[in-house]
Amino acid sequence: MPWTRDQLAERASKELQDGYYVNLGIGIPTLVANHIPEGMTVTFQSENGMLGMGAFPYEEEVDPDLINAGKQTITELDETSYFSSSDSFAMIRGGHINLTILGAMEVAENGDIANWMIPGKLVKGMGGAMDLVAGVKRVVVVMEHANKHGESKVLKACTLPLTGTRVVNLIITNLGVFEVKPDGSGLVLIELAPEVTLEEIAAHTEAAYDVKLKP
């Protein structure tokens, strides 16, 4: 059984480590915050200018001056700090954020990622995605393995305009998990979703990959 959205988020949460500062993208990555392992301290950064994001507010706590990068109302924690957008991206660009978990339209076997623009369709903008993939120490992509036409999103080379080149470290799809080799020479399949077979992965993956399944 391929992983569901929530199971994908749960799998991605295994990439968290105690003491990490983490930036989560919009969509499935946001759900990772629901799966922080017990006893672990993880601090979430919101690139509009906040470190230490809390949960969504109760109705009476809603504050228009307190939103996340998805423009959703949120709450603060005791440890929270606020800062300007330039300070926020100094944290990101300067390599101070340990991990970012992002969605993607396409990822290539050398670690290229495309997640902001489809030519011919209305382009909304890249927001902070290019800064995140260029600056954060570890970049994890969480996405469906194939697009809605059934075509592989794990490719030899991206076809869409790139967000960054050779920046992705780990790809988690609904079928399995791939490491990107640090030298950009290809992928390594390290995990399968329950009951997903190697044949299924092969049938749905354009990129070349080695298989070294972890027990």
Partner: protein
């Protein structure tokens, strides 16, 4: 009109912008989404009818609110932004070729404004290398990694929003409404700040001032609507 004792303080948004606006000018406008936008100054800019504007702002407001109002009245010729998702009129004008648009990565946009205000004409960043953002721009190697040259941004006018300010222009922002406002204060030839409350000089803790008054030329107290784009709440579990 400024009061005799406080030359920076203006009674309303329109008078605070008087003499500063001209067709074809470049305006920086603070805020992230609808959070921390100078909504009264934007409305005054709308009412002024100034046109042909180049607007530097992370987002473009929503239909009928924030910068969306300037779009509706066709006052904007060009936007420099990182994300413009929530605006149908923007979409229409852009697809019809009536509006020029320059996308910057959000961190590059923030740093271009910071640099502009700090007298730095350009800087190198790894953001956007190998993407269309770097097309036509100078690349340079530092310690084996490629970086792209980005330029500092300045504007004829910056309009920003703060929480509290004093008559000398010292400002304090509130929570995530700070965002682009402090950098924009430094990068406009003239900066006009809209605040929720003008407080007596001396009542702000000098150690807690976010934007020193030197950057702020004019200040106006105004009531904000503070519209919320994505109201997300959780429901209290009942036992």
């Amino acid at each position: 009109m400024p009061t005799p004792t406080s030359p920076k303080v203006f009674p309303d948004a329109m008078s605070a912008l008087e003499g500063l606006m001209f067709d074809g000018m470049t305006v920086m406008s603070g805020g992230f989404g609808l959070c921390g936008i100078p909504e009264n100054l934007i409305a005054a800019l709308r009412d002024s009818g100034t046109t042909g504007l180049t607007v530097i702002s992370n987002n473009a407001g929503v239909d009928g609110f924030g910068l969306g109002q300037l779009l509706t009245r066709r006052q904007i010729a060009k936007m420099i932004s990182s994300y413009v998702g929530e605006n149908k009129e923007f979409e229409r004008q852009y697809l019809a070729g009536e509006l020029e648009l320059e996308f910057n990565p959000q961190g590059t946009l923030a740093e271009r404004i910071r640099a502009g205000g700090a007298g730095i004409p350009g800087f190198y960043t790894a953001t956007g290398v190998g993407t269309i953002v770097a097309d036509g721009k100078e690349l340079k190697d530092f310690n084996g990694r490629q970086y792209v040259l980005e330029t500092g941004l300045v504007a004829d006018l910056s309009i920003i929003k703060a929480w509290k300010g004093d008559s000398r222009g010292n400002l304090v922002f509130r929570k995530t409404a700070r965002n682009f406002n402090p950098m924009m204060a430094t990068a406009g030839k003239v900066c006009v700040a809209e605040v929720e409350e003008i407080v007596p000089v001396g009542s702000l803790d000098p150690d807690s001032i976010h934007t020193p008054g030197i950057y702020v030329d004019r200040i106006v107290q105004a009531i904000s609507e503070k519209r919320i784009e994505q109201r997300t709440v959780r429901v209290r579990e009942t036992v």
